[in-house]
Assembly symmetry: C2
Homo-oligomer: 632 residues x 2
């Protein structure tokens, strides 16, 4: 008897129009756990190295974990993975909400999508009944209309939907997935992959119940956790203000990316802080399955130009930076409206903001001209230009067509030195934390298998002084200096990456879980034990994290990534021009040394390839044969 998980994975073949159920035993679940582990296993076992990310041979997975759907705050995320059209490598993108738990309640721990339908379809999973249905009536709709229509088509008001908008249909490589219009699998272009499969949406209704090994203990932990969330300062702040609470501190520290990473402070940042956000555009809180943090925002504003509608999830910190400081826009209504547009149309707001600020900097440097824009100026600070570009990109119209490629390919196509302003890592645009002010996160941006990802990586600033005690259970005892990069910082990142990796493996929300938020390592382990009935440990879970990380690395290596791809953006190797971090930069040769030190800590060779010993240690012997050229 399995507890916590169903033991079943739904595999849908859109080409054949068939589906089957794949069953795995406890050993498999205890090896791969969920999320990032399921993705790595699939990418390598299905051997997706050489496939076109937007061809029918690419395979997607919607992965819960062995604990998703337990009634504990934050145990609600699911992860989507495939080969990424944005990076050409490992893709992984999480979202919260209710979709993951609903999948579990419907009887599946993951859904794998293979092949491509000839015509638009959607997948209807109704408590174990699986149908591939015609989506002619949905194709072309935005995410809101898709949701409403699917409620009609399935006859289920409470249906949970993951869908793509027009951006995904058009296979824009940074198109995202949404669920319930509040939750987004934003990064690595999974919307484009879904679009390439002619799959508009997955609709799920699940009324089953998960069995837990020790239901009383699960309840007890959930209640302990809820109580602690009410008292734990970072969670109190998140409840009150949501992630926009970060804007003020990030700006004060001088690491709020501004004007396409040119600066680390935005002169009008105070207009974007949590309090004005709360006082002007905020309508109410939203939340996720069983979560008492309720950090999600809903916005409402009766504004002729930027009307805000409470049906949509409001701007997170990343959106405030993407459409605000990055574009030098200081209007919260415009930022809220831009976020809403991205959500409706299905664009990742992080990449979109980066693309727009890239376009603005190109425009200000004469690389993109009025001729390219049809006479529309694209200056930093122009909120209307920002909104206009979102629409152009989603529609692939005018300048939007080239910008829809993402900054890397857009710069290549534009030429004229545009690369100088094209900031990405491994092809993916960066999340908005200047690495010069959080050097551990800088290392994380360089080393994350998906390109710069802020939920892969430790936020150095939370571990200064006594703050380091959060990582004591992982054996890290020395406080962090946020702006220093040295061997101790590499160690901090090495260990912190594993701590964050727990959340990506088990599908836990960073804002409820370890290491910063209300869940402790001890309670986490107790929760996994009570849910699954396994006598597991932090050691075993972190082993799973490392296994997932190594699988992602091996996949990327096979896809052709080299140590040269483990790098940062040009601007971070140059001195910060102003603000509290003025003069700070990463020294390139030294930085290379830290990357190599990380490889060595990880049991990878100088080319960043996990050694045979590391693969065997992690029980990944099945990868050994094919690990071409690795150290022997």
């Amino acid at each position: 008897m399995a507890f916590g998980y169903n033991g079943k994975i739904l595999v849908v073949d859109l080409t054949a129009g068939t589906h089957e159920i794949r069953e795995h035993d406890e050993r498999w679940y205890r090896t791969y756990f969920g999320g990032s582990g399921f993705i790595g296993e699939m990418l390598l076992k299905e051997d997706l190295v050489d496939v076109d990310p937007l061809g029918p041979e690419n395979t997607m997975i919607f992965a819960c974990s062995v604990v998703t759907g337990a009634p504990i705050s934050g145990f609600n995320r699911y992860t989507v993975g495939a080969k990424s059209p944005l990076t050409g490598g490992f893709a992984r993108t999480e979202a919260a909400g209710f979709f993951g738990p609903e999948m579990k309640f419907a009887g599946f721990d993951a859904v794998i999508i293979k092949g491509a339908a000839e015509k638009p379809v959607y997948l209807w999973i109704n408590d174990g009944n699986v149908e591939i249905r015609d989506a002619a009536d949905l194709w072309g709709l935005d995410n809101w209309d898709t949701l409403v229509k699917l409620q009609e088509l399935t006859g289920e008001k409470r249906v949970r939907v993951s869908s793509i908008g027009p951006a995904g249909e058009k296979m824009i490589p940074y198109a995202c997935l949404q669920n319930d219009l509040e939750h987004y699998n934003g990064r690595t272009g999974m919307g484009a992959v879904m679009g390439s499969k002619n799959l508009k949406a997955i609709a799920i209704r699940g009324t089953g119940k998960l069995e837990f090994a020790d239901p009383e203990k699960v309840k007890e932990i959930a209640s302990w956790h809820r109580k602690r969330i009410k008292e734990h300062p970072p969670n109190v702040g998140l409840h009150k203000y949501g992630t926009p609470i970060l804007t003020e501190g990030v700006n004060a520290g001088g690491f709020l990316p501004t004007r396409n990473f040119k600066e680390g402070q935005f002169e009008h940042a105070d207009k974007l802080f949590a309090e004005p956000y709360h006082d002007t555009i905020f309508h109410s809180r939203g939340t996720c399955w069983s979560c008492s943090v309720a950090c999600k925002r809903k916005l409402e504003l009766d504004d002729p130009k930027y009307p805000l509608d409470k049906r949509f999830g409001g701007s997170e910190f990343e959106a405030v930076a993407a459409l605000g400081s990055m574009c030098a826009v200081d209007s919260l209504p415009a930022i809220g409206y831009g976020t809403q547009l991205c959500n409706l149309l299905g664009l990742d707001v992080v990449s979109t903001g980066s693309v727009i600020s890239f376009a603005m900097e190109c425009y200000e440097n004469g690389i993109i001209t009025d001729e390219d824009t049809g006479g529309r100026p694209l200056k930093f600070g122009d909120a209307d230009a920002m909104i206009w570009l979102i629409r152009q990109i989603a529609a692939k119209e005018g300048i939007g067509e080239v910008l829809s490629l993402g900054v890397k390919k857009a710069a290549e196509k534009i030429g004229k030195g545009a690369e100088k302003y094209s900031f990405h890592i491994k092809g993916q645009e960066l999340a908005f934390h200047d690495g010069r002010g959080k050097t551990g996160m800088g290392l994380g941006f360089a080393l994350c298998p998906t390109g710069a990802d802020h939920i892969e990586t430790p936020h150095d600033v939370a571990f200064v002084g006594e703050g380091i005690s959060k990582l004591y259970p992982m054996g890290l005892l020395d406080p962090v200096d946020p702006v220093k990069t040295d061997a101790a910082k590499v160690r901090f990142f090495y260990i912190g990456q594993k701590a964050w990796g727990i959340n990506n493996l088990l599908g836990l929300c960073n804002f409820c879980s370890v290491p910063i938020h209300a869940l402790t390592f001890t309670k986490l382990v107790e929760a996994v034990q009570a849910i699954t009935g396994w006598e597991t440990s932090l050691y075993e879970i972190l082993n799973g994290v490392e296994r997932a990380n190594v699988m992602a690395r091996v996949f990327n290596n096979r896809c052709g990534f080299t140590p040269d791809d483990d790098t940062l953006i040009r601007r971070w190797f140059e001195k910060m021009p102003s603000g509290p971090l003025k003069g700070m930069r990463f020294e390139p040769d030294e930085f290379r040394g830290w990357i190599e030190l990380y490889y060595e800590m990880s049991g990878w060779d100088k080319e960043g390839r996990p050694t045979r010993g590391k693969l065997i240690e992690l029980g990944l012997d099945w990868l050994e044969e094919a690990q071409v050229g690795a150290a022997q």
Copy 2:
């Protein structure tokens, strides 16, 4: 406020006749924990690489841990370390009983002995009062008389004593320490080091109380543990029969070293099994601090030739093999009497049995002759010869003089091809488990920093079939084949060594703790948390284990050990001649490959040197500079 430990280490300088108290902070305790960790730190920080093990520059440590003395079964061991006179490298030897907890109650977590006294002394630690006292009246006494005399001299009937016998005084490199005549720090020659310092004994009386962070929880775990010990089959067996319960199974499996490792079964083994032991020589059970297993035996026999006295600890399995099957002696009274003699005189029974069987094989092959023995034949099976040799060795008389060097140096001195019968690893005689029948333990014998040590290493036979579930919390999910050596076995050893390492780090008894006995990994972590108040984890503890292991490795490397020392005895590379394992052997080139795979898993280079990355990962940066020639 520290819980569980005192924060104080007593440092005695016998040359100067002074002592001081060294205080360490929580960070230090959380880095080194105790036992093997304290030893490694001391050997490297004091830089004992180039010292003569029997010179005054060598330094000894008697190390408890942060949890020693908690009232939980098995939380009672302490570890003695120094540079070993037997191996010339890292020494570590544990003993149970009451001495370690008494040290904690007296206010110290460890006692370090530096220098050497001019004349015999003993150390009297009375609740924090420390005296170096004249031991003229003790020198030359056996361990029993020493104990009685010390009770008189200190006026404390309940004094706890660790002492050396005449063998230690004579600096026999496999002389041991005893406490309470039932518990022995047997291996690596710590009795000789103590003798070289003219230190006859350490007497301790401690009436203090340890404070625990959560005393109720400590009680709760202790009581849960006691209950489980009563039901958990391996503990039930140990309670009933003690370690001699192993003899039958080890012989049946064909891996009971017999006649100096020539065979794996002893034709008269049935006379040595637990039941005849219990029915003939057994008197009563002994136990250790707060332990409900009570696996210790006391013997009594009214026999004119081999009188057995219940004041002494009786023969453990290792003694039965050492003086029984290894010497082909089938008389339990003789074995019991030989054990008693070793205990009185202060000889490690494991090395002593090996030395005697080496002498017997040399004698049978004409390498040791009647001329050497003064006409005394030394044939296998001759119980009187075995007893006679123990006395000769302890007195360094006649043939005993050369044999007192240990098999390695004795063979060198004897010449005439004696090396052919000299079985040791890194200079230390082996414990009695034929590695061909437990290949994981074989790897452990080769890789243990002290030379072959059976408490370093996983007992493969406990992990066949469902048995492997004991190691699930460490991520090991596949059952073990005891006689197979392959990559999976190297992984099993790599992980299992860490599991056993917990006990050597924290001073827990293997017979109460993980992975085989009644304590579970979960309860272990809870216990450490409740005792210390640290939010620790299995990950952090295993990090400490690896740190200790790496320090031992670095010390040995600096002392001149090379990968050639990570090997097995000649006979195990040859086919087992008979019994269930007939034909089994380690293939030398293949074995070398497994050793190198272990290095790679460990983050060590091909020369067996921990890489810079590994040192930094473990927070051992302070070793980096001096790690000459290591991989960069």
